[in-house]
Symmetry: C2
Subunit: 335 residues, 2 copies
Amino acid sequence: MGQRPTILDVAKKAGVSKSTVSLVLQKNSAVKESTRVAVRQAMADIGYVYNRSAATLRSSCSGLIGLVINDLRNPFFAEFATSFQMELAQNGFATVLANTDEDPLLQSRMISSLIEHGVSGFVISPSYGQEEDTLAVIEAAGVPALQVFRSLSQGDNRFPFVAPDYKLGGTRATEHLLEMGCKRIAFLGGLNGRPVTQERMSGYLDVIARNNQEPVVLTGEATRQFGKKMVDKLAADHPDVDGVICFNDLVGLGVLSACVELGIRVGRDLRVVGFDDIEDCQDSFPAMSSVSCHIPDFAKTTAAQILSWINDGVCPPDQQRSDVELVIRASSGQA
Amino acid sequence: MGQRPTILDVAKKAGVSKSTVSLVLQKNSAVKESTRVAVRQAMADIGYVYNRSAATLRSSCSGLIGLVINDLRNPFFAEFATSFQMELAQNGFATVLANTDEDPLLQSRMISSLIEHGVSGFVISPSYGQEEDTLAVIEAAGVPALQVFRSLSQGDNRFPFVAPDYKLGGTRATEHLLEMGCKRIAFLGGLNGRPVTQERMSGYLDVIARNNQEPVVLTGEATRQFGKKMVDKLAADHPDVDGVICFNDLVGLGVLSACVELGIRVGRDLRVVGFDDIEDCQDSFPAMSSVSCHIPDFAKTTAAQILSWINDGVCPPDQQRSDVELVIRASSGQA
DNA sequence: TTCAATGTTTGGAACGTTCCAAAAATGTGG
DNA sequence: CCACATTTTTGGAACGTTCCAAACATTGAA
């Protein structure tokens, strides 16, 4: 017994069979309370630790969930990953993290690796490109997978998709700026052609059209740098813009930063709304209004869905949109 | 064969024994090139996927590394986790992530869970408290564990510890502000009594003493909010302060934000240096000077060390300090 | 042609669980 | 005290790999 004790050692110590010990481990209600206690005691005494590899092999259920994220450096995803991981942990599942850095090749490799490790399910915010391959591997393996935030397969219902109602967010943000008296509102950032960009933008475009304004759209990388650059561009090409909807908060923070630098008074000369409501929004100057999907709640829902799919075979609906809330702060501020 | 194909199916298909297939899987050089190719082909043909649970069970080597992080919402750790994970992936290891949110109880639970999953090693930036327990579990399990950034066991050499040279960072930052002509320099943020705080601060204190200045120290939470609050406090209690060293970038960003709000010209009225050099530093206004440990390099080193410990039994030295660089930007700017 | 050395392949026995059908223990009503 | 239902417990047989000692092939030298 130089090695780690096994279920067999526990059984011997407790004077029962290994099967009984196994039942205790699985919290099976058939085992009598008194023996349960005895077994638990024996475990504690000899310092037993559960070997999940063995369990997984036999039962093909690993208690592992793969979380595949396209950009963990974006605080939005970091916040999501954090909440999600904690939620899973509460349910006895461990999270295997894979950051794909927007690289579909890396993504394929990582997904394969996760499958090898026997993850019981995937939650995946996919990187674009190589779409067939990526999903095909998961499908072939027959592992439940939930797409979040982005979808590679919108419409073909191979993998259910959950996301905040981006369009509604765009709508709300735009309406808000109109109410605040903005006469010319621009939409900034987000790669052109990407579904997420399109949705957020379409909310904006609808409202703009309905109010007979002319849209100003400057798509591009969803980064702080891009946000900064666009402030110059706006000043040069569209001096009448007095409100901007940003594709996400990073762009928004870039805008704020540039405005401060140029002496543009955010909340007066220019009203700014971001998207995602990452924590930074509360502490920027000025504090930034943003469309929130309530990350912790969203993560909780996501976790619940993948778990009930795994545990009870309940496959989530094809496509779901969660509500969003516009959190109003000084950047789009009161007059 | 309704189930996933196994090594045995591959063997049959390729006309060899399962042992040979296993050898191929392990990239053993004993197997002849031609059979290697044949086996690989067979795998591809029948869509074989490696079952690591089985391999782990037999070989007790899981290819899994546990990354335990005290606060993944802090971009610094998110950036580290990202780099680390990618580095491991390149070496065929998967990263199981656990965020402990500064909660030692959660930490204990998560570590136990990771051990059950058979992680081959830990890299851990620990939450404080309950120290004995936390480390005892890992020690009992005999799993290699590397502490990063923080150490629960400084001195008792149970687990090697790697961190940036915090003190040197404090020194460099302070010297820099002196060179820029600051007459009164404050140190802001970081929980009192924590080793990391002490180290960063001691670099500061040394330089201050050597230059016959009087120190101004305001410890506290390492958050943006705290940074903001302290600007008011400085203005009220220490109006002569013209330079601040911040415990970390979050505090620094808070300071910047408050300064902009109050019309304090950062880089002129007040010079600011942060710590960690997270990506935000480049895009704040003004861009923030910060002590960098070169996160990607640091992650690479860490990954290399834990891997060589696991693979080759090379236990890293008890304590290591990596070099830091002061990245100078506008917040501490040129005169 | 034979022998030794070297290069390749192989069958069975692990690894530590869970699953299952069946056995043993316990409880109940007559 | 028996027959029966019910509650607990149990011994193998998996699960899909890796490991090992031994078998088989091939090569070069004698």
